[in-house]
Subunit: 471 residues, 2 copies
């Protein structure tokens, strides 16, 4: 039986190509149909051209479909991978600007333990609405399909969907990949590293870190001790930032992936503070300069993707390798590496979606980091809150690992509890579509100085995001 995998929001070309390349590197999934869905026809057309080209060069047996109709993507799908960002970055930046105008540095969605600049939980009702729309559609038209959630906010999204829908659904993120980077920095062979992470999406912690049967934390501590003159290579290079190290000191376990970005206000009061904790010149990915850097990279990549697609359309036999070479000067290093990986015949992208599908479909059991309801795995957290943990997946299903050793109480009480509390507030505000709850949320915000400030920012946000409140 051939599998239909639909990618919703397929216009983000790099993400889609990663999945497609993973697919053609997974022989057991040959014959699959990939349905690319996006409402942006131009981007959809470009990604379709690229996907077909890469797949055909790899000699892959994949059938492609492309549509801007969500129902067509859902119909007959076995897996729906959702990576859509409703309104795109432009919407997020607009919301941020309104927040900043009213005195909320980096926008109102920037919050304690949720500082990532495109992980919106308060002004993002359109995104949540889309989650709901998609799951309802799946319930109607593909009730046995899996929904694999890649779009942010994965934490709020997974919790919301698992609470309100009967479909099979799981949230994915690649943040745990920094365990590999950290191990590499320490000169540890990842194949001998016994590791485990636990927490919530963008707030995960290395609760287990052993090397060849021994605790590897002393090696990490030793490494940090001799680490001097640390400077980031790019804004996202924060595994060993002063912020990450300080969080390690306070919480007693190492923050993984996007977690160093998601500290308290201590590291984020203002841009100078960010520079101190995430390094010069950017102040990390979530400072104005760091975020501009990212947006610039993103637009370069989008441009080159569009150009490449155009060139392929004009000359189907084009060798994409030669296309990439002359532009190297302008192109982000990470993107070139990424493209090399996609073109490489063996190396997987690191995204978990295709291996996950392979595990379920062909019983190719594998270890993943998944977002699933807690169900008692982490103590003092409600059963229906989505946590991010390691799990073994095979044809028989999802088998989350017991958290061993347990997360320190410090992490649960000082980090996860306040983060989960705000997730609950944000979800209730969305579910009730109640701007008064956003107001109440902001009343408790460190940047708030008066009720008037709260009311005016919420009013403008509601107006500009198309939800006219009655507050």
């Amino acid at each position: 039986m051939s599998v239909k995998i639909s990618i919703v929001g397929a216009g983000s070309a790099v993400f889609s190509l990663r999945l497609v390349s993973d697919l053609y590197k997974t022989p057991s999934l040959k014959g699959a149909t990939v349905c690319l869905m996006d409402i942006d026809d131009q981007r959809l057309s470009a990604v379709q051209t690229l996907a077909r080209k890469f797949a055909s060069e790899a000699g892959a047996d994949i059938t492609f479909e492309a549509t801007n109709d969500l129902e067509k993507a859902v119909d007959g799908a076995n897996y729906v991978i959702n990576s859509a960002m409703v309104g795109g970055h432009a919407f997020l930046e607009k919301m941020r600007a309104i927040g900043e105008k009213h005195g909320y540095y980096r926008g109102i969605d920037t919050q304690e333990f949720n500082m990532v600049s495109d992980y919106y939980t308060l002004t993002n009702w359109k995104q949540f609405d889309f989650f709901t729309q998609l799951t309802h559609l799946m319930e109607q038209r593909a009730p046995n399909a899996w929904m694999l959630q890649a779009a942010n906010p994965v934490f709020e999204g997974t919790t919301l969907i698992r609470r309100t829908s009967s479909i099979k659904m799981m949230g994915f993120c690649h943040g745990h990949f920094s365990v590999r980077e950290i191990s590499k920095a320490l000169n540890l062979d990842i194949n001998h590293v016994d590791w485990q992470v636990a927490g919530v999406n963008h707030g995960i912690w290395l609760n287990r870190f052993r090397y060849k049967g021994q605790d590897a934390y002393p090696l990490l501590e030793e490494y940090l001790l001799v680490l001097s003159d640390w400077k980031p290579e790019q804004p996202f290079d924060d595994n060993f930032s002063p912020a990450a190290q300080d969080m390690f000191g306070f919480y007693g376990v190492y923050p993984i992936g996007d977690t160093p970005r998601n500290g308290s206000w201590k590291y984020h009061f203002d841009t100078d503070t960010k520079k101190r904790w995430y390094g010069e010149p950017w102040g990390g990915a979530d400072a104005p300069e760091g975020w501009s850097w990212y947006q610039h990279q993103l637009s370069l990549v989008t441009q080159v993707m569009a150009q490449m697609a155009q060139a392929i359309k004009e000359k189907p036999s084009l060798d994409v390798r030669t296309f990439l070479t002359p532009k190297v000067g302008q192109l982000p290093e990470a993107f070139l590496q990424e493209t090399q990986r996609i073109l490489d015949s063996k190396e997987m992208s690191g995204e978990q979606h295709i291996p996950f599908i392979d595990a379920l479909e062909n019983n190719h059991g594998n270890r993943f980091v998944v977002n699933i309801p807690n169900q008692g795995l982490i103590p003092d957290i409600a059963d229906d809150v989505a946590i991010e943990v390691n799990a073994w997946v095979d044809k028989a299903g999802i088998h989350p690992e017991p958290i061993d050793p347990p997360l320190p109480k410090r992490v649960i009480q000082w980090y996860l509890t306040p983060r989960i509390m705000r997730m609950e507030w944000a979800l209730e505000a969305f579910i009730k579509k109640d701007p008064m709850l956003i107001e109440e949320f902001l009343i408790r915000d460190l940047r708030t100085q008066s009720l008037e400030q709260v009311r005016s920012v919420v009013q403008e946000i509601m107006q500009e995001s198309g939800y006219l409140g009655d507050s």
Copy 2:
């Protein structure tokens, strides 16, 4: 068998006299010994004189002891009522001044849902130390005695003691008395009001309010609708303040007792904000003017108590009624009413301690509002967190009532969760004696603008409170 009741911190004369008068109005406890303990000899001597005088005028059969030795108070005690405030108000005001100097309006102990001006949880390690010292002493010398906790913070204190000590212990507060005041304002006969409160100390909510078999909330709503030109009679008059009404609107149940004082920053950003929500001219009890008013009343009462004691010493046959009359002009109305009640032969003070002792000793079953570990009574709250709920008490023990109807989720998620979270942070900071945890607490405080501000305030607090931190 005669019962020994020790009052620790007996120097707060009004509170001690309330208990003594309750005792001589409870015939089933005749023959009891009351041990008055305080480290302030002058106040102890005054309260002893007054207690003996009032008791003898009432023809009571009470044996009095007075000591400044805690061990003597504990030895042989059946009940130890703790009302001691270590360092007194002077210490609290000193801590507040340091906070204000560093930009923390009303001091660092003033926190979201903990705005009461003498309910300190961060700078009050001396108080917590005393709780621990007293419970340890009781474990050694009176392991079967009950500790009745009256001293604030009752929430943190009860949780701490119940987690760390094996002694029988319960926290008491009289905040629920405002159910009577509210019923009276609505012209409801309290004997026909079926009510229940639930929450945590200083954060309790009227989850059940029925009158003669009918829901009484519509009567309350009607009352609020026609309530116009509300003005407080004194700073503590806040049952129907705009703040209380606004909290009712948001949470869906009415805030009781000290709860209207303990809203979010919405009502407390600054003194003008307080005046808007708690009325002119004071801005409520926890604004600078309201708190000065209270401190002035307190000092007047202390003075008159000392004068009265002196007058009795000089002339043991003095009629205290005549002593009070000529000074009426200066004396707080509430104090005069209080004294009338103490002199009255029947009316009880409203404090729960003596009726509680009577219930346990003589099986005179009664309904109380107690602070006890949650143990599943309120969902989504850990078992070992002290909650404040109604309970029936008799010789067989404490029988907490099921919470019926349950507290709204709104109260649990938006009020109790953040309050409990901060209780946990404060207790961990105390238990570890770790100023870094106070810093981390303040990093998440709305008034904080920088890490430097946090560090400097914590350093000065630690120095001035006698705990030299190593932070």
